[in-house]
């Protein structure tokens, strides 16, 4: 237990700061503070929440934003299958506990487990800690956000593409990921001039699935 918490501590700090920055940006994008905290409590996926917000800030519709965020979360289908066998209880309970899997808790549970079987306890303990910290960070960011001032003067509109690049870069290890990124961007750009918002992202998703290996 102590080892699990020690391994999770530095990640918890990073998750807290990520949550606070999401809270600040979401309130600056004129989302009501309660909805920002609710989103963190119910979605619990930084990159998806960030992507959905980025679509809203860029003038996209709510449907496009949901679509973008949900597509980014599709990877949890794969991690969910990997962790399901390590979780206790009935199918319903396991489907609830699987909500604690995010990139960080999944990575730690894989490291603590044996090949092909992530460690369930690590996933649950780490996931629960990060869940609390994520909501705490978001709440503090949502409270601090309005104090900071005019979002555009502060460059917050540029914070989104900057954040997307920062999320993307560490993923670009290996030829497949680079191929998916270039293909996704190219298809989105080709579709953007003459399709409604959302379609370019759908095109990028199809290319990502197609080029994944």
């Amino acid at each position: 237990m102590r080892q699990i918490l020690l391994a999770a501590a530095p990640i918890a700090i990073a998750v807290f700061v990520f949550g606070a920055s999401f809270g600040v940006l979401a309130v600056a994008a004129h989302l009501p503070a309660w909805s920002v905290v609710l989103m963190s409590a119910l979605v619990f996926a930084g990159s998806a929440q960030f992507a959905a917000l980025g679509v809203i800030v860029a003038g996209g519709s709510v449907l496009t934003a949901i679509f973008a965020g949900a597509l980014l979360n599709l990877r949890f289908v794969a991690t969910g299958i990997a962790v399901a066998q390590s979780l206790p209880g009935s199918r319903l309970l396991r489907s609830l506990l699987a909500q604690l899997s995010i990139d960080e808790s999944y990575a730690l549970s894989v490291r603590a487990g044996v090949p092909g079987r992530p460690d369930g306890k690590t996933l649950l303990v780490t996931g629960a800690c990060l869940y609390v910290v994520w909501i705490l960070g978001t709440s503090i960011g949502a409270v601090l956000g309005p104090v900071l001032g005019d979002p555009k003067r502060l460059g917050l509109d540029a914070a989104f593409p900057a954040g997307f690049v920062a999320l993307l870069w560490p993923m670009l290890s290996g030829r497949h990921a680079v191929r998916c990124a270039i293909g996704g961007a190219a298809v989105a750009l080709a579709l953007a001039p003459f399709t409604p918002p959302g379609i370019p992202l759908a095109g990028a998703a199809v290319v990502g699935l197609w080029l994944a290996r």
Binding site: S21, G54, A58, V62, Q99, D157, A166, G208, R213
Partner: protein
């Protein structure tokens, strides 16, 4: 954004995210050939989001403060700077360019 619209955004995203994480527990026998490909989604979508935000409606690059902001963030990310540093640096670059050049 109005309250009901924000609630729709939150619940829509939350519902789909729940379903995706629950799939493994509810349908354990999905073929690996399908699930292993989901790894390609995140890089493709994030690159597409960057591309769309940096271009105008005609698909050509739109030169404003976002372009240097993204370049600085990418450079920092390449040197393994933490996420929050990249985001703040991007915002600061955009804010400074706006303040100095009235862009």
């Amino acid at each position: 954004m109005a309250g009901p619209l924000a609630l729709a955004l939150v619940l829509g995203l939350a519902g789909l995210s729940y379903a995706m994480r629950a799939t493994g527990a509810l349908l354990p026998n999905l073929p690996a050939a399908i699930t292993s490909r989901t790894g390609g989604l995140a890089p493709a979508l994030l690159a597409a989001l960057v591309a769309i935000q940096l271009t105008g409606p005609n698909g050509v690059i739109h030169l404003d403060v976002k372009v240097p902001a993204v370049l600085v963030a990418a450079l920092l990310a390449a040197f393994r700077a933490p996420f929050i540093i990249c985001v703040i640096a991007g915002a600061v670059v955009a804010a400074l360019l706006r303040a100095v050049f009235h862009l």
